[in-house]
């Protein structure tokens, strides 16, 4: 097999894995958008917030330590214990549910029936607020997150591919785990929305508020639930990205990478988010591999957006999104 083709295969594999991580973030957007028509700009910050909370709880950090010390002149920083990863994840999930409740109670409930752009701006406000709170709660230094996920090169793939192609593929174990978890997450989400009472109610609310009320569904409850689920997805994304590149404030910027993914996949489709993520992941890696050297590299920074732009021209609703038909 020609060498170039083998390289390309490795690039595609790595692209798929990167795409899964993009898809994870995009998924959070889709969930909220589907159920409430809100484009949640704060999704990326939610992932950051979740990751920071997780690290904070695991290390036994005192929340708002800086604020407490400055106010009372104390010197508390640490509870002096370490919380096991699984328990910390459960506790963090609890925090995300609380956050969902607070967002609904103090922000979204007062904006029912407003224009989408108003809701969007509210989520921008929420993003900055949450970023500030995260900073105040857990401090702004870069932290490492280790919940026991395997990391580093997968030797089995390395050896197997070496035996076949005479060239060992470099695939990160973390990426493989992320792929598996993302697949499970998507399967769980689909099962949840298709086969459970709450899922059915969620789809109903997404479709028609009035009709949902008339069959006895509480919109408030469903919206808190949807924000909680989005919080859970943010937590999973936060764990993956946090483990990969450390928990730091630039994590909230991965949300921007989710935008082209959404334009490709459509804002209303869960499978769309996955496929969109994979296309972007593979596309940008392949482009960098094939065209990058000709144009001086660093194409990964802009490739996704250009692809999204092209899509916007030819298929504005995305690959799987609902077709926009305007009757005159």
């Amino acid at each position: 097999m020609p060498e170039q083709l083998v390289f390309a295969m490795e690039v595609i594999l790595n692209g798929l894995m990167a795409g899964v991580l993009y898809a994870l973030v995009a998924l959070g957007f889709v969930l909220i958008y589907k159920a409430s028509g809100i484009f949640n700009y704060a999704q990326g910050v939610m992932a950051l917030f979740a990751a920071m909370t997780l690290v904070g709880i695991m290390n036994g950090q005192v929340p708002f330590a800086h604020l407490i010390n400055a106010t009372f002149g104390t010197h508390v920083h640490n509870f002096g214990w370490n919380v096991p990863a699984l328990l910390a994840i459960i506790l963090t999930m609890g925090v995300m549910v609380l956050l969902a409740w607070a967002v609904q109670r103090f922000v979204m409930r007062h904006l029912v029936g407003q224009e989408p752009i108003i809701l969007f701006m509210a989520t921008i406000g929420l993003a900055y607020f949450l970023e500030g709170v995260a900073d105040l709660m857990w401090g702004s230094e870069i932290k490492t997150l280790n919940v026991g996920l395997p990391q580093g090169i997968n030797l089995w793939i390395d050896e197997t591919t070496f035996n076949i192609f005479d060239y060992g593929f470099f695939i990160d174990n973390l990426d493989i785990v992320a792929t598996i978890i993302a697949a499970l997450l998507v399967a769980a989400l689909v099962a949840f929305s298709q086969y459970t009472k709450q899922g059915r109610a969620m789809r109903a609310v997404a479709d028609d508020h009035q009709a949902a009320l008339s069959v006895g569904i509480s919109l408030n409850f469903i919206w808190i639930m949807v924000w909680s689920v989005a919080g859970f997805v943010a937590l999973v994304a936060g764990i993956m990205w946090g483990t990969k590149s450390g928990v730091q404030f630039s994590l909230s910027l991965i949300a921007l990478k989710a935008l082209p993914v959404l334009m490709l996949g459509g804002f209303t489709s869960i499978p769309g988010a996955i496929v969109g993520g994979l296309i972007i992941g593979v596309g940008e890696k392949l482009f960098e591999f094939a065209i990058g050297p000709l144009v001086g590299g660093a194409t990964e920074n802009w490739f996704a957006y250009v692809l999204a732009l092209i899509f916007l021209v030819f298929r504005p609703q995305g690959l799987f999104g609902e077709k926009i038909i305007e009757r005159v």
Partner: protein, 272 residues
């Protein structure tokens, strides 16, 4: 006027029971506009009660008061012998009051079956973890609800479109699916907001037959709004007539038909 608290027997021999819902001196205002002005009436168990009146009479507003979508400024709503506290529409629905809408409010993205299944949400008691395991209680529950829904689908003759997405259905069938969804909740009181609006003669006849059959077969108490006098008179046991937010008549179709005020309202006599 009927004042028999024990109920009465209709012309065709059906026994009507006690009062299910009573509206007492309801007044509803939107800013300076008075949509409903001091109206009282009752709905009895097992009867088909109609609210009629010309366009803009306040019929839909009245239905929205009953179903909790509007909150009246004055007056009380009594349901099953107790005064209803301030409730949100979904809580009213959970109490057993199902409704349809004038402009059809279905879940367009879902199939007919899924739409009707949402009517059963109140009957699903298992929690999310039991459902995740899909064992025992959760499974029997789904089966039971599915059976109840299939029965209604059969009854309303919409088996052939069970799996069709609602958005693809013609208007008349959509109305029927909406009725099926409301029925799936096995409501104590069924509210129909202009069930015949926009239908042709044949569809109207079908719908009338279904309304009568539902009442007959399930004993459902039905309150409906309609401005087509002809249809209503054949269908209902008792009729409330509204005009400009006021009640101008209440009684059996025959009584109402001979009421001078009602005749004036429909034929158009100047209001001075």
């Amino acid at each position: 006027m009927l004042d028999n608290s024990e109920g009465y027997v209709t012309e065709d021999g059906r026994k009507i029971g006690g009062v299910v819902m009573e509206m007492k001196n309801i007044t509803l205002r939107f800013g300076g506009v008075v949509a409903i002005k001091d109206i009282s009436f009752d709905i009895r168990e097992g009867e088909i009660r109609a609210i009629i009146g010309p366009n803009g009479a306040g019929k839909s507003s009245m239905l929205n008061v009953i179903s909790g979508f509007y909150v009246p400024q004055e007056g009380e709503v009594w349901f099953h012998g107790s005064k209803r506290p301030l409730m949100r529409p979904f809580e009213v629905a959970q109490q057993g009051i199902a409704r349809t809408f004038q402009n059809i409010a279905l879940f367009e993205g879902m199939s007919v079956l899924d739409n009707v299944m949402t009517g059963r949400l109140g009957y699903m008691k298992t929690n999310i973890f039991q459902q995740a395991l899909w064992k025992g209680k959760a499974e029997t529950e789904e089966t039971e609800n599915r059976e109840a829904v299939e029965k209604i689908i059969d009854f309303l003759e919409i088996q052939h479109i069970r799996k069709t997405p609602v958005s693809r259905l013609p208007y008349g069938l959509k109305k029927r699916v909406e009725l099926a969804r409301a029925l799936a909740a096995e409501p104590k009181l069924l509210l129909l907001d202009e069930p015949m609006a926009g239908m042709n003669v044949e569809e109207k006849e079908d719908m009338s037959r279904f309304v009568l059959d539902v009442n007959d077969e399930f004993g459902t108490t039905i309150a409906l709004i309609e401005h087509d006098m002809g249809v209503v008179m054949d269908l209902s046991d008792r009729v409330v007539v509204m005009d400009y937010g006021k009640k101008i008549g209440d009684g059996t179709p025959d009584e109402v038909r001979n009421n001078q005020e009602v005749i004036d309202a429909y034929l158009g006599v100047s209001h001075d």
